[in-house]
Amino acid sequence: MLHPILFPLLALSSGPEITLPSAEMRAGQEDPTERPPAVAWMGSWEQAKAEAARTKRPIMIMSAAPHCRAVPGKW
């Protein structure tokens, strides 16, 4: 079963299915530079809000904590 936090991140960053190429699969690829298309995230709310107002587009917000039990480098 997918980790409850990894699920949305994998689902949103990897492609049309929920169980999609994760880092595990990428590591086994012949060409690791061939990444699947990904969601283009902005890094801050202020930036996103300004761009949404400018372009009149709806906003998708998906916050996540970039640490696992206080260790960085893992969602």
């Binding site: 299915e17 372009t55 587009r57 206080a70 260790v71 960085p72 480098g73 893992k74």
Partner: protein, 259 residues
């Protein structure tokens, strides 16, 4: 789903890294204890005031499948977005607020990080150069493939793992490969302040090729490796996820009862 997301302005704030964003996230979704949890998902109107669907800890709490989510995203974009729906291209670099955070996020996503150097010195030339990077960042070829940050050359030189005497220019661009624990980086390449669009694309291409995909560890092994290395992430605001609170409670009980 990725295609459907292009009609939205997508933002991924790091939870617990800003008091203002923490307040916003809490207003969008409260967990079972009424606290801010590790992740929050919401779809909002262009002014950011109206919720377009119910909110949750993840898309899985709102949609049954990825296909259903993609369909709903497309429908919502047509309902509330601009009538002539073109792919969203920002006029801003999708940069994380700090180099420290950007490096950590890049490690989490296992992607290289492109740093725009010395952005605090304003000049017409500098703006033009940054605009060129923005154009590349939002192009079909490069959108979402690498991460970005603004920093000074001194900040980059001070990173853990940076070789002494590494040729970091005072201004321009550098590409970095984040260390797996997100605390340091390896220099992959540089580009000059007056780099052309082709040179910036080359910098990104070489970054993607030069970044070694990390050996993927399970969360448990990653945490073990981090603890062994003495690495710890300090958040800006306290972590209030029930998982963390349960562990803190259990630890206190253990200390109190000596069991």
């Amino acid at each position: 789903m990725v295609t459907a997301s292009r009609a939205f302005v997508c933002v991924r704030p790091a939870t617990y890294e800003s008091a203002a964003e923490g307040k916003l996230l809490l207003s969008l979704f409260r967990g079972r204890l009424g606290n801010l949890e590790n992740s929050v998902f919401a779809l909002l109107s262009p002014d950011g005031k109206e919720r377009l669907t119910k909110t949750g800890r993840s898309p899985g709490m709102v949609f049954k499948t990825a296909a259903q989510m993609a369909e709903r995203l497309t429908g919502l974009a047509q309902e509330v977005g601009p009538k002539r729906t073109k792919t969203f291209r920002s006029q801003q670099l999708p940069a994380y607020p700090t180099l420290r955070l950007a490096l950590n996020v890049a490690a989490c996503d296992d992607r290289p990080l492109i740093v725009r150097l010395n952005p605090s010195v304003p000049s017409k030339t500098k703006k033009k150069a940054t605009d060129l990077l923005i154009e590349v960042a939002w192009s079909d070829e490069w959108v979402g493939r690498v991460h970005y940050a603004h920093a000074t050359a001194a900040d980059v030189r001070a990173l853990e793992g940076m070789k002494k005497g590494a040729a970091i220019p005072e201004s321009g661009y550098v590409s970095l490969s984040p260390a797996p624990l997100g605390q340091g980086a390896e220099l992959l390449g540089t580009a000059a302040e007056r780099a052309s669009k082709a040179q910036l694309e080359k910098l990104l291409q070489e970054a993607v090729e030069g970044h070694k995909v990390s050996a993927v560890l399970s969360s448990r092994d990653h945490v073990r490796a981090g603890k062994r290395a003495g690495v710890s992430w300090e958040t800006v605001i306290p972590v209030t996820d029930p998982g963390r609170l349960d562990k803190d409670r259990a630890r206190r009980r253990l200390d109190r009862d000596g069991k």
